[in-house]
């Protein structure tokens, strides 16, 4: 309570000691009331402590009349003595009007009870007269008025003393600390309600924040400090001339995520100032930002991290603390130790308490884990050792300035979290979707299942037994349900993983087999996988792949297959040469020529290959591993294995291939190794998973035209089409539709699909399917609709409506495909009517605002046929408010595809004179001109077309010349693309109607290039080129005429 009284209560004179009086403020009144409540309830909440005799009496002038005292007191006219006395027979309460001396909480409680209405006054008088009550109660050693109010001094002292009284004294100290904390929180809460800040509240804020600052992710700030160490007597640290402005102090704050902030705290609030000037440490006092009501609000606005951590920890903790303090007196004194410790962590020199803390955690632990003697000692040891290593790791730096909510349990969890954070830190790049799930160690106090104890015993036998005992223990361990997470984690938590991995390093074949059999099972658990990698299990397993025992090879490969589900593990496998060894397992022929060791435990060669494929499948999810598999000669071996008919062999093989087919090199090799044929063959398998992987592999490979043809030639289209009808397995459906999509890029394949009535089925799949399926279905329809018959078919099957409905989605891949499909349909005027009626054009148009450039471009391409084929297209386009401006502004994009598509849209828009006028007003001419310097032929073609169209309005022809679009256009004629030639010649023809443009063209050598074009077989090109030449020529003639009339 000392701290609160010194720091929170508002004294009339700022000087600490002496005879100041308490101001009558709401805050003070509140504090007094809290104290009164505490004292009043003390006698029945803590009867034991109430008898404790203060070192010095609390003494003050009372207004109470001796007559107010009744039973239990010896009353005379001017004096009152309590009947209750101390060891020496001195009364615990002695009143000699008006001076009163009290030496126990019991008597204080009674006094307040007697005082009734005047208790507030009595309390105030008492506090005023006893400015350091704690020192008086507990002795000067516990002077909490000192700057360092940490309880640990008290604790230290008390624990050293052995006299029986010390226990009571300690409890006393605890209670007073609690009260103090409570009062601090109370006043803090109170202070935060005040609009005007004062030095005390600011100081409080800063001190609080300091407690929660430091290194590490958990803290709210990296650091917070005053710019000046000197504190004026009024609590301000600002220089006096700045105090005139109401400024109190300046603080340098370094949040985690932003630069150091130099902040002014003044009576009006908190704001950012001009910062500290480097050389002299002088502060630029000028205000640089808005004023916030307090420091916390300010920081919440400036630092997201602060805000996050603050809300995460501090606020909850504060309320918890308050809650706890309130609850405290009701609970058994046991809990108090926790709170004291808890408090102590926040204080500056917590390190001293480290030992106590450990002991404390230990006590808690042992209390909870009584069932097994062995376990108890083990856990105790662990707690300490973890603690030790952690201390080593953190060195002397101030770690964890945030107190754990409840020591013991929370701390254990926290430690583990810390530990696991440390381990993967060697690879900061680890951020994959399947990466590193959070570690959930079994909380020590959770109800441990009986398996725990049994498994722990078995692990003990593993450690301390010979081969025979080890094998028995391993076999017994396998009798547990290892698929159950409890058992998996139990093995780990009792230190079984280390032992199992160590066994792999021995020469005992049977032990290795037993150990791997267990590891194989428990590595289905993602946490265990990570633990295995952390314990260095993978290199050992990779070495076992060389073992002469096939069963060991199999088990090791299978375990690797399970463990290598995340990237770090896959990398370890590669770095230890695992990929080469796994690829070697695939080679059945090679395996069987090896000297077979007649062993009881052996497997067939096929099984070895299967396990190898299984491991490679897991490993193949990393790019570098794909490369390594290829370099190790894996593809021909996989191709070889693909010829078998064992499903459990085919699945990992095809799985690996499908995974790897994302790489161009693999696709080429897959084609070269004639793998497609077998993939197609296995599409006809009965196994859904196999079908799925085959379809997936075809999907990956069918980007390549030749491969698409191969799929058709090997008869793969029919099974694909028939699999479309099986919609129950969504993964397979996604793979199949993907394969169909990619295959339908080839026209011949589309014809086949139509034959197999796949298009109708696809339309049927447009509704009620997951997005992965929809993307592919729509993609396939988009390809199919490039042909007239299919467009008609899609319309007749009612496919347009669901397609248009899909335009409102958010999945980018889906939107790209949907827009393409809708665009393909819009080529048909009859379909266009439907699209228009469904408001599809507006939906497409609004997709131009989509953030993703692919969607933008695809939507723009789709708009072209819409504008071409819509009735009253001009009117329709104008009806989109802001639509034209949007399109023109898209010319500022830096994506070539977007630009080309938007140029195409502009070409179509410009067919309507009125719209052309509008886009001209929006500045289409300079924007188009700016794009002219490009080497991209697609963009060139559409840009030239757009320019050509836009020339049809006003003085746009001249404007293009002025914006220097002509010279670059001439260069387009040197392109190899006839489409570019045609569009450019047409644009030049339009532009050549302006004399200056003709001059530019002539200067840039257009005539010769155009003359060549006149000889082109393309009629439009011929005409345009000729027209342009004729314009240039006419101008020349006219000039000559003018010159030589």
């Amino acid at each position: 309570m000392g701290v609160a009284l010194t720091k929170s209560a508002q004294w009339t004179t700022a000087a600490g000691f002496g005879t100041g009086t308490l101001e009558i403020t709401p805050l003070n009144e509140g504090i007094l009331k809290e104290i009164i409540m505490f004292v009043e309830s003390f006698i029945y909440k803590h009867p034991q402590e109430a008898k404790y005799v203060f070192v010095e009496p609390l003494e003050w002038k009372t207004n109470l009349d001796p007559s107010a005292f009744e039973s239990g007191y010896v009353v005379s006219a001017t004096t009152v003595k309590s009947e209750e006395v101390d060891k020496n027979g001195q009364p615990l309460l002695f009143l000699s009007v008006p001076q009163i001396k009290i030496r126990s909480f019991g008597q204080l409680s009674c006094l307040l009870f007697i005082a009734k209405d005047t208790k507030l006054k009595e309390a105030q008088a008492c506090i005023e007269a006893n400015r350091n009550p704690v020192a008086k109660i507990l002795g000067m050693d516990y002077n909490t008025m000192k700057e360092d109010p940490s309880i640990l001094n008290i604790l230290d002292k008390i624990t050293k003393e052995d006299d029986p009284e010390s226990e009571v004294k300690m409890k006393m100290a605890m209670l007073l600390e609690e009260l103090d904390l409570h009062l601090l929180n109370y006043s803090l809460k109170h202070a935060s309600l005040e609009i005007h800040l004062n030095p005390v509240t600011i100081k409080k804020d800063i001190e609080l924040l300091k407690h929660f600052s430091g290194q590490g992710e958990q803290t709210v700030l990296e650091s917070i400090e005053y710019t000046s160490d000197y504190e004026f007597s009024n609590g301000c640290r600002a220089p006096p001339w700045r105090q005139l402005h109401g400024e109190i102090c300046y603080v340098l704050v370094k949040p985690h995520d932003v630069e150091t902030l130099c902040i002014t705290c003044c009576a009006e609030g908190v704001f950012l100032n001009g910062g500290k000037t480097d050389d002299e440490g002088e502060i630029n006092y000028e205000r640089k930002g808005a004023i916030y009501k307090d420091l916390v609000t300010f920081l919440k606005h400036k630092s997201a991290k602060f805000s996050e951590n603050m809300s995460k920890q501090v606020s909850t903790r504060l309320t918890e603390e308050q809650q706890k303090v309130k609850d405290q007196p009701k609970k058994a004194p046991k809990k108090k130790e926790a709170d004291a410790l808890h408090k102590s962590i926040t204080s500056s020199n917590k390190s001293k308490l480290e030992n106590n803390q450990i002991n404390f955690g230990k006590n808690q632990m042992t209390k909870r884990l009584e069932p097994s003697v062995n376990w108890k000692t083990d856990v105790d040891f662990k707690v300490i050792s973890v603690r030790d290593t952690q201390e080593k790791k953190h060195g002397g730096r101030p770690e964890k300035s945030t107190p754990p909510v409840s020591p013991g349990r929370a701390q254990l969890v926290h430690k583990n979290a810390d530990k696991t954070e440390e381990i993967p830190s060697e690879s900061s790049s680890e951020s994959e979707e399947d990466e590193e799930p959070p570690d959930h160690r079994q909380e020590a106090n959770a109800d441990l299942p009986s398996e725990y104890w049994q498994i722990q015993k078995l692990v003990k036998y593993l450690k301390g037994g010979n081969q025979t005992a080890t094998v028995i223990a391993l076999c017994s361990m396998r009798d547990f349900n290892l698929a159950q997470e409890t058992c998996q984690l139990a093995i780990r938590d009792v230190g079984g993983l280390e032992v199992l991995i160590n066994l792999l390093d021995t020469d005992e074949v049977k032990c290795k087999i037993g150990s791997l059999k267990i590891l194989k099972e428990i590595s289905y658990n993602p946490q265990i996988r990570r633990n295995i990698v952390d314990l260095g299990g993978l290199p050992v397993m990779v070495n076992i792949l060389d073992s002469p025992h096939k069963i060991l090879k199999c088990l090791a490969a299978e375990t690797i297959a399970n463990v290598a589900k995340f990237r770090r593990a896959r990398r370890v496998v590669r770095h230890h040469g695992g990929i080469t060894k796994l690829v070697a397992l695939l080679d059945c022929a090679q395996n069987s020529t090896e000297p077979a060791q007649a062993s009881l435990y052996d497997e067939r060669d096929v099984e070895v290959a299967r396990c190898g494929a299984l491991a490679l499948w897991s490993c193949s999810k990393s790019y570098a591993n794909k490369e390594a598999i290829r370099k190790a000669g894996g593809i021909p071996l996989l191709a070889q294995l693909l010829k078998t008919s064992h499903e459990n062999m085919l699945i990992p093989v095809v799985g690996t291939l499908q995974e790897c087919a994302s790489e161009e090199s693999y696709r080429a090799a897959i084609k070269a190794e004639r793998i497609i044929e077998n993939l197609v063959k296995n599409l006809n398998s009965e196994n859904e998973q196999l079908q799925e992987h085959c379809a997936m592999a075809i999907y990956q490979c069918a980007e390549d035209e030749e491969t698409r043809d191969l799929v058709r030639l090997h008869g793969g289209l029919k099974p694909l089409a028939s699999l479309l009808n099986k919609t129950d397995n969504k993964e397979r459906l996604a793979a199949v539709t993907g394969a169909i999509w990619k295959c339908s890029i080839s026209k011949e394949n589309v014809t086949k699909f139509r034959e197999y009535r796949a298009i109708e089925t696809l339309v049927g799949l447009l509704t009620d399917q997951p997005e992965e399926v929809l993307v592919n279905v729509v993609g396939a329809l988009g390809e199919c609709c490039q042909e007239y018959e299919n467009r008609v078919l899609v319309r007749k099957c009612g496919g347009i409506q669901p397609l248009v409905n899909l335009l409102v989605g958010i999945n980018q891949a889906l939107l790209v495909n949907v827009t393409k499909a809708v665009g393909a349909c819009a080529v048909e005027p009859e379909s266009m009517v439907i699209i228009d009626r469904l408001d599809g054009v507006r939906l497409l148009w609004s997709l131009l605002k989509n953030p993703h450039p692919d969607v933008k471009a695809s939507a723009a391409w789709a708009l072209c046929p819409c504008i071409q084929n819509a009735k009253d297209a001009g009117e329709m386009v104008r009806s989109f408010v802001g639509g034209l401006e949007l399109v023109v502004n898209l010319l500022k994009s830096d994506n070539k595809e977007v630009l080309a598509s938007v140029c195409a849209v502009i070409t179509n828009i410009a067919k309507d004179q009125e719209n052309l006028a509008v886009i001209t007003d929006h500045g289409v001419v300079p924007l188009l001109s700016k794009l002219a310097n490009t080497n991209n032929d697609k963009l060139r073609q559409h840009l030239a077309e757009a320019i050509s169209r836009c020339c049809m309005w006003g003085r746009n022809k001249v404007a293009f010349g002025e914006h220097k679009a002509v010279a670059p256009l001439v260069r387009y004629l040197k392109s190899n693309d006839t489409n570019v030639h045609r569009a450019t010649a047409q644009a030049l023809y339009q532009l050549s109607e302006d004399a200056n443009n003709c001059i530019t063209m002539h200067e840039n050598g257009a005539v010769k290039l155009l003359l060549d074009m006149v000889g082109s077989p393309d009629q439009d090109l011929q005409e345009a080129a000729a027209g342009c030449i004729s314009n240039i020529r006419r101008l020349a003639l006219a000039t000559e005429k003018a010159r030589y009339p």
Partner: protein, 206 residues
Amino acid sequence: MDQKALRKLVESISKTVKSFKKSEVECLIRLFHSLVERDDVRLHNNVLDRNTFRATLHNLFGMTDDMLMKRVFFAFDKNDNCMNVKEWIKGLSVFLRGTFEEKLKFCFKVYYLNSDGYISREEIFDMLKNSLHQQSSEKETDGGIEELVEKMLKKMDYDNDGKISFAVFEKAVKEETLLLEVFGQCLPEAKICLDFEALAFTHPDF
């Protein structure tokens, strides 16, 4: 040994032991004799006594457990406490070329010593006696062994009579091959067998 007698012996042994070629049988006979002769122990009509056999198991087959080696001896030997050449070769055929079933029978034979056809609780305890490293107290170690015995009985003693019959043993081992030598090593390791064959069949006089 004269050639004639040797050939005769080879013939007769080859009739009962099918897994070795005649030349190999011959090599093994030679080995047997070299073992018998080399060791300066009393000869009973060319038989191998227990100590020599134990030394052989240890030197050639890398076995270490005395008690189990004794048991292996009795599994090799029919009844007379000394091993003749036929028993020797027959035993080796299980060691080197034995089928799973043969090995299964062999192991079971090693484990039930008192020839009542069952492996009893006491026998298991006896065999596992040295399987745990000395713990803090003998009592604790015994407790641990008792528990291992209990675990195995629980695993194999389906009829709950405190002993393991061959049928039960067979069933358990077929389920989990690792249980074949569950109560201690009684078969040489595969690699050692290979080494032995390489040595014995190529250098008959080693």
